[in-house]
């Protein structure tokens, strides 16, 4: 299956590898995330991070257990990442994870998200996780499309639930049974 957009765009790199993130990836992961902080409403963080400030976030993930982080790498460069994280601190929510998936802006439309999601859902199969959730700031057709391709269904829209760049944004929630 291809995730190329209609009209054609660059192909998925043939050497693309998916692997657990390591601490050495942190500057590049921060660089990718900061692009979305600074330029888009995709994330509701407002101020860019230093890699050092991102250490605490990085520490939430492990190579085993329900909270994973995988990166997609080609020619020694990380092009995107996906995570599963705690959905909510209360203990009964521990059977649910929240998804994140981001590609570097220059790597969008090359099937990287698809490969990342295939790999992370494969990993989660062994974990005591029942539901995966994803929150997407609207509009974002590409993100809605990949979640729907992976079997997520729409839960609902929280209208104007965040303010960024002096405007309010709607967030759609998706869920997927694992």
């Amino acid at each position: 299956m291809s995730t190329e957009r209609a009209g054609g765009s660059a192909r998925t790199p043939t050497d693309l590898t998916i692997r657990p993130a390591t601490i050495d990836d942190l500057p590049r992961l921060t660089e990718i995330y900061n692009h979305y902080i600074v330029n888009t409403p995709t994330t509701f963080d407002l101020d860019p991070f230093t890699a050092d400030q991102r250490r605490e976030w990085f520490s939430h993930y492990a190579a085993t257990g329900p909270h994973r982080m995988l990166v997609a790498e080609s020619a020694g460069v990380v092009l995107g990442y996906t995570t599963t994280s705690k959905f909510h601190p209360r203990a009964a929510y521990d059977t649910t994870v929240e998804m994140t998936i981001l590609s570097a802006p220059e790597a969008i439309g090359r099937g990287i998200g698809h490969r990342l999601y295939e790999a992370i859902f494969d990993e989660l199969r062994k974990e005591d996780v029942h539901m995966a959730m994803a929150a997407i700031t609207l509009p974002n057709e590409a993100s809605c499309a990949i979640h729907e391709r992976f079997g997520f269904t729409r839960v609902g829209v929280l209208r104007e639930v965040g303010r960024k760049f002096d405007q309010y944004w709607d967030v759609v929630w998706y869920e997927k049974k694992l």
Binding site: A91, M131, M133, G156, L158, V161, E175
Partner: protein, 172 residues
């Protein structure tokens, strides 16, 4: 609000010396119901960080309902999600002592809470309700919340999965 045979109920900001009673009210719901997704009862001491998020000014408030017999319930507004763009939203919470339900105390608390929040830079309130809970759904509908979505099987407590309905209410 109070019925003809009920003592008058006062609504006021919570104080630190309410914490033991607030914890007692909340622990009932932890132990006996899926209404909260906390699973283990909490001590008042461990509840201090929760209490510390509220103030008598600003978007994050905690009000209690009290009669001559003591605190009967509480309602609060707190951070919905950590990322800063969410700061224009609050999540609301409301708990009544088991013996104080169905006396209009929840309405009195929410009336006072939304009145207190009117001057704050808030745009939306959201509330999550473990289903089924007809009384809570009805209370939120009365205060202008509409259902935004239903998250299926999103929590596990008492060896079963529970749905949570999320509702939202404009604040501006």
């Amino acid at each position: 609000m109070s019925g003809p045979n009920e003592p008058a109920v006062e609504i006021r900001p919570a104080r630190a010396d309410d914490l033991a009673r607030l914890t007692e009210i909340y622990n009932f719901y932890i132990i006996n119901t899926p209404i909260t997704f906390d699973i283990d009862p909490i001590t008042a001491e461990d509840r201090r960080p929760w209490f510390a998020q509220f103030a008598e000014t600003g978007p994050h408030r905690l009000l209690v309902a009290e009669d001559t017999g003591g605190v009967l319930g509480y309602a609060g507004s707190h951070q919905f999600r950590v990322k800063k763009a969410y700061d224009t939203s609050v999540e609301t919470t409301i708990y009544l002592a088991q013996e104080a339900t169905s006396r209009g105390i929840g309405s009195a608390l929410y009336t006072a809470l939304f009145d207190a929040l009117r001057s704050e830079d808030l745009h939306m309130a959201v509330a999550g309700i473990t289903l089924p809970n007809a009384a809570s759904v009805a209370l939120h509908q009365r205060f202008g919340f509409v259902q935004a979505g239903l998250m299926h099987a999103i929590g596990r407590k008492f060896d079963q999965y529970w749905d949570v309905g999320w509702c939202e209410r404009p604040m501006a």
